[in-house]
């Protein structure tokens, strides 16, 4: 197992850094009075991020009346939380558009799962007026980034992992730890730590399948819940599926009343579907 862990950590080193431009922009967005001209100056030098950002907002459910063609035009129309959300989403695409054979996901499904979780996180954060919306969006969009690294290793042991889930009643994450010595949440958190993301974002990624950790704070609870709802709807549901436990306190810590859960599922699905359909329609090919 030590040998496997060594290989996993070697693989971690091969993942490209999160774009410096985006990290700088996110830092600027911590200030509610950020100057949007300055923000645009930082982002526009990265053509990929700029193009992805504009494509996403033109595809989104936010009801823009006309096509937005520049960053400054976009910033004038969006709220600060929406800017954060679409900025991270614009960067996440480059990591999350890859086949994950071990988890049984096509690049398209990996990307949809990330977007779906982000959409649910945004909706829940809005409903409960969450304090740390910036951490929530980033963690929700990147929560499965560790699967990128573990995929190869999970693929080789998938049968053993699934048998542990089926026969021993372990969660998929517990089975990953038993077989590989680590799990995709830990690996994802480590990647975010190396990239310099804030502690609360790292914690939420680390906690998204851990039933004790996910109820430690609202950010972690909302991120874990967003992932669960995305999986309940089958959106980019990987081989791990629903092989997890849900702690009884989750909704309370997230700030949601039981009776509102189904309305969130319905509304979130509409938002996601809208975004997906528009992204497909605006896809370059």
């Amino acid at each position: 197992m030590v040998k496997v862990l060594e290989h996993i950590f070697e693989e971690l080193n091969t993942v490209p850094n999160f774009p410096e431009t985006a990290l700088r922009a996110l830092k600027m967005l911590e200030n509610e009075d950020v100057n949007f001209q300055d923000l645009a100056k930082v982002i526009r030098y990265d053509a990929t991020i700029t193009a992805n950002f504009l494509r996403l907002i033109n595809s989104a459910y936010i009801g823009l009346r006309r096509k937005v063609e520049s960053l400054t035009q976009a910033f004038a129309l969006l709220g600060i939380n929406q800017i954060r959300f679409f900025l991270v989403a614009a960067c996440a695409g480059q990591y999350l558009k890859r086949t994950l054979h071990g988890y049984g996901l096509s690049p398209y499904e990996v990307w949809l799962h990330s977007l779906g979780s982000g959409v649910f996180a945004e909706l829940i954060a809005e409903k409960v007026k969450a304090k740390h919306q910036d951490y929530i969006f980033t963690a929700a969009l990147l929560h499965d980034i560790g699967k990128l690294v573990l995929d190869l290793f999970v693929g080789g042991e998938l049968e053993v992992i699934r048998d542990l889930v089926k026969d021993e009643g372990l969660t998929f994450m517990e089975a990953e730890i038993m077989v590989l010595g680590t799990d995709h949440a830990v690996v994802g958190a480590e990647l975010l730590r190396r990239w310099g993301f804030p502690q609360e974002t790292i914690f939420a990624v680390r906690a998204h399948h851990d039933e004790d950790w996910m109820v430690q704070n609202q950010t972690a609870a909302i991120v874990a819940l967003s992932n669960m709802l995305t999986n309940l709807l089958g959106i980019g549901m990987g081989a791990d599926g629903l092989s997890y436990r849900v702690p009884p306190k989750l909704l309370k810590v997230a700030g949601i009343k039981d009776r509102d859960l189904f309305a969130i599922i319905t509304e979130g699905y509409h938002r996601y579907q809208n975004l997906k359909e528009n992204l497909l329609a605006n896809s370059p090919g």
Binding site: G104, T171, G234, M237, G238, G241, R245, V246, A263, I265
Partner: protein, 158 residues
């Protein structure tokens, strides 16, 4: 043709293949009347509209088992199916290993469709619901096959 969640499609023999996306806790109900050569596929998300505190705008009835079933059955009949001899198959309804009841959407959806069919004296030929793993269903109206795929296992043909 992908049948999205909250939608249904009915085709005749030789028509386009009908396929679900990954189902999660949603349930797909497949219908086949071999004599009339009619095939239908419906994917619903929630058991009933009344579990929502308020109706979410633009949500079709087919999003809910209770509200969508009669519309689906009516479309099958319009296409020539005779419901009494039609075989129904329900799949999906994934469930967490352990969760508070409110998260057991898969269990709720599976039992709701069982009840709704029973109330209408219709037969459920097979049910494959409740596993935690992702699954899909495909109906091939050319080969007359209904194919059930669950991640990591051999597909089943009915």
């Amino acid at each position: 043709m992908i049948v999205e969640k909250g939608r249904f499609q009915v085709v005749k023999k030789g028509g386009e293949t009908l396929e679900t996306e990954t189902l999660g806790s949603c349930v797909a109900l497949a219908a086949r009347d071999r004599e009339a050569e009619v095939y239908g596929l419906w994917v619903f998300v929630l058991p009933a509209l009344k579990i929502l505190p308020h109706r979410v705008p633009n949500t079709p009835d087919a999003f809910f088992a209770n509200e969508g079933i009669d519309e689906f059955l009516a479309e099958l009949e319009t296409q020539g199916a005779v419901l009494e001899r039609t075989e129904f198959y329900s799949v999906g309804g994934a469930r967490f290993l352990e969760a508070p009841t409110i998260f057991d959407l898969g269990g709720l959806n599976a039992s709701m469709i069982r009840k709704l069919l029973k109330d209408r004296k219709l037969k459920l030929a097979k049910e494959k619901c409740g596993r935690p793993f992702p699954c899909r269903l495909i109906i091939n109206p050319v080969s007359d096959e209904i194919i059930f795929k669950i991640s990591g296992e051999e597909e089943e043909k009915w």
